[in-house]
């Protein structure tokens, strides 16, 4: 399909059939995966959306006025979109554009916190279960199954009710119901590698169980965990927004998208943009993660 790479270029180094070093082989593998990924237009648009979201969150103060997101200007309330307020203003006269931009920080924070809890917990349960087998496996997987059988949003609701509303509690509630699939995934990946010869070699060399798990098995599990995580992001974002919509996530005046949709409900019929625009932000973001995850999975499938 493509012409053979010109010798001496970066591309030739990456696509070398016989890599000279471990690093070259690794980069080459990533580059080939990237070439496959790049051919998928849906996945690429997902990547662009996610990158754009991250950039918007990082540079939020540069592209929107932080003051306009929080500051109430009651004489400017419920204005239609204009040059001063691109997406109009809400029922307290705050600029919706600025609020959507700063809301991306909240969304990304939730997503990052949930991943930081869910992945270690999932790996911590799944890896020993798959590695040691026997009764350890049975006990750990039973626990996982119990949590897997819980309805996510409803349990998050109960937790938020008990702990009180707020981002931290929303994160805890979501994480609590989100880790089981990672444990199962990590266990399955470990089981397929458990009897591999390189594991036996490491055992014979006297490596401890912990060392084998950490240095041999974890790196092999990570790709599928990352793919799963990307696909899960959309669900996490939607659950967080749902909690926000119900008034159980981030509390006012913080510009959380779900809460913004909720506050726009009262004026939906006359000022449709107040509820619609943050909803579009939620939708585009979760779509971005879904498209990206979908593409990554295809790349992962092709390799695996």
């Amino acid at each position: 399909m493509t012409a053979a790479p010109v010798p001496g270029t970066m591309r030739a180094w990456l696509l070398a059939p016989a890599p000279a070093s471990r690093m070259q082989a690794r980069f080459g593998r990533w580059f080939r995966a990237w070439l496959g990924f790049r051919r998928n237009p849906l996945a690429m648009s997902g990547l662009i959306i996610v990158l754009a979201l991250v950039l918007v969150a990082i540079f939020a103060p540069l592209i929107a006025d932080p003051d306009a997101a929080i500051h109430q200007v009651l004489e400017d309330r419920l204005q239609e979109s204009s040059w001063a307020h691109w997406f109009g203003t809400d029922e307290l006269g705050r600029d919706i554009y600025a609020r959507v931009v700063f809301g991306s920080r909240i969304t990304l924070t939730i997503v990052a916190l949930v991943s930081m809890i869910v992945v270690p917990v999932g790996l911590g349960i799944g890896l020993p279960a798959g590695y040691f087998g026997g009764w350890i496996d049975t006990v750990l997987m039973r626990i996982t199954d119990i949590f897997l059988a819980f309805p996510r949003l409803v349990l998050a609701l109960a937790f938020a009710a008990a702990l009180g509303p707020g981002i931290e509690n929303a994160v805890i509630a979501i994480s609590l119901t989100a880790w089981p699939p990672y444990a199962r995934l990590a266990r399955a990946e470990t089981l397929t590698r458990r009897q591999a010869e390189f594991i036996q070699a490491a055992e014979l060399q006297g490596a401890s169980h912990f060392r084998i798990i950490a240095t041999q098995i974890v790196p092999l599990c990570l790709p599928s965990v990352i793919i799963r995580l990307t696909l899960d992001m959309a669900g996490i974002i939607l659950t967080a927004a749902g909690l926000g919509f119900l008034g159980l996530g981030a509390q006012p005046p913080s510009p959380e998208w779900g809460a913004m949709v909720s506050s726009g409900r009262q004026v939906l019929l006359d000022q449709w943009w107040v509820a619609t625009i943050p909803g579009i932000a939620i939708f585009v973001t979760s779509l971005g993660f879904n498209l990206l995850g979908d593409g990554l999975r295809d790349v992962g499938d092709a390799r695996g």
Binding site: I146, F150, L153, L163, G258, V261, R265
Partner: protein, 356 residues
């Protein structure tokens, strides 16, 4: 799987042995269901314990004397060790006692039974929409694998995955109710139709048909259609996607080639033979979809002022009515576990290969 599996496999298995195996499998499923149920009660018990409100103070008020406080504390059993408290809680739950709701002053179980049919009505129609549209779309995508039809269906179901259901509900209301006037607005019925039909099942569409009240039926139906379609779209996305992948694995098998070579029409091969086998796996997917519909109902009901379980839980939540919230959590959890169990039990019945 223990002894029976290790016994030498006979060339022809007797019916007795088969049913014995099925009984063993059923036993295993029931055991794990019981464990999961215990886990669920542990979690709700735990949630009930971590609330920052002192339950004794909530009953006696902060002006009560120390003696009254102590007496109530002992009365509601808070002086007992945690395992004893849990055991008492478990016994109560098993007897269907979830306490009394603070808002309605009814037993929570009674409240739940009153609101649950409304949610079921919504979820059933949504599931119906999801299956009727999702399965054919999935099959169609599988037949056209990799072509633009497949990409389009894939993209449409990704849209469904990514849509915040509460927002979609609001947009639906804005468009189809406020602007176009195609459907009825929030609630289950227009006020003028309230209390005409006697409650039998609690699902107004069915009750009105039983009572022979056409007008009420159509009013209820036009109220139901929008929220059910919106929930249905979300389940459609999942059903279509899973159908596609099951169909792809069926279509790649040799029996498909064989039936085609035998001269059967491709239509028959795809829709009768391949889909017939894919149904086996779809049973599980549909059970799981129904569970997630119950969850989606919490948000949808809030948007559509639909007086079901979700709205009940949400209202309880904001009135700090923990008994009601935990009762609702328990109900959804039990339905969830029940659905999982059902699909585990049905699976070996419909798929001989799963009978190990």
């Amino acid at each position: 799987m223990g002894g029976a599996a290790q016994a030498a496999p006979l060339p022809t298995e007797g019916a007795a042995r088969r049913s014995w195996r099925y009984a063993r499998q059923t036993g295993g499923v029931l055991f794990s269901v019981a464990l999961t149920f215990l886990g669920l009660t542990c979690v709700t018990f735990f949630v009930g314990r971590i609330i920052p409100i002192d339950p004794v103070l909530a009953i006696v008020g902060d002006k009560a004397s120390r003696e009254t406080y102590e007496r109530v504390r002992i009365e509601i059993g808070l002086d007992q060790p945690i395992p004893v408290q849990y055991w008492r809680y478990l016994m109560k739950v098993l007897h269907g006692e979830f306490g009394t709701s603070l808002i309605t002053a009814h037993p929570v179980l009674q409240d739940l039974l009153r609101v649950f049919p409304a949610t079921l009505e919504l979820a059933f129609l949504a599931l119906f929409i999801g299956i009727v549209c999702g399965v054919p779309l999935g099959v169609f995508a599988a037949i056209n694998r990799g072509r633009w039809q497949d990409q389009l269906i894939r993209f449409a179901s990704l849209l469904g995955y990514s849509m915040p259901v509460f927002w979609l509900g609001l947009i639906g209301l804005l468009l189809f109710y406020a602007k176009l006037g195609w459907v009825e607005g929030p609630g289950r019925l227009d006020v003028s139709f309230d209390d005409i039909v006697p409650t039998v099942t609690g699902m107004i569409t069915i009750d009105s048909l039983i009572a022979g009240e056409d007008e009420v039926f159509w009013n209820a139906f036009w109220h139901l259609v929008l929220p059910a379609s919106i929930l249905g779209y979300l389940s459609l996305a999942y059903v279509a996607r899973m159908t596609r992948s099951f169909m792809l694995s069926q279509l790649s098998q040799e029996y498909v080639l064989a039936t085609l070579a035998k001269g059967l029409s491709p239509f028959r091969v795809v829709w009768i033979h391949a889909l017939g086998n894919a149904w086996v796996q779809l049973v599980t997917v549909i059970a799981l979809t129904f569970g997630s519909l119950l969850e989606g109902a919490v948000l949808t009901e809030t948007v559509f002022a639909w007086p079901g379980l979700g709205l009940y839980m949400k209202n309880s939540l904001f009135n700090a009515d923990l008994n009601a919230v935990l009762g609702g959590t328990m109900l959804v959890g039990i339905v969830y576990i029940g659905l999982n169990m059902l699909s585990d039990l049905i699976y070996p019945l419909v798929d001989p290969r799963a009978r190990k």
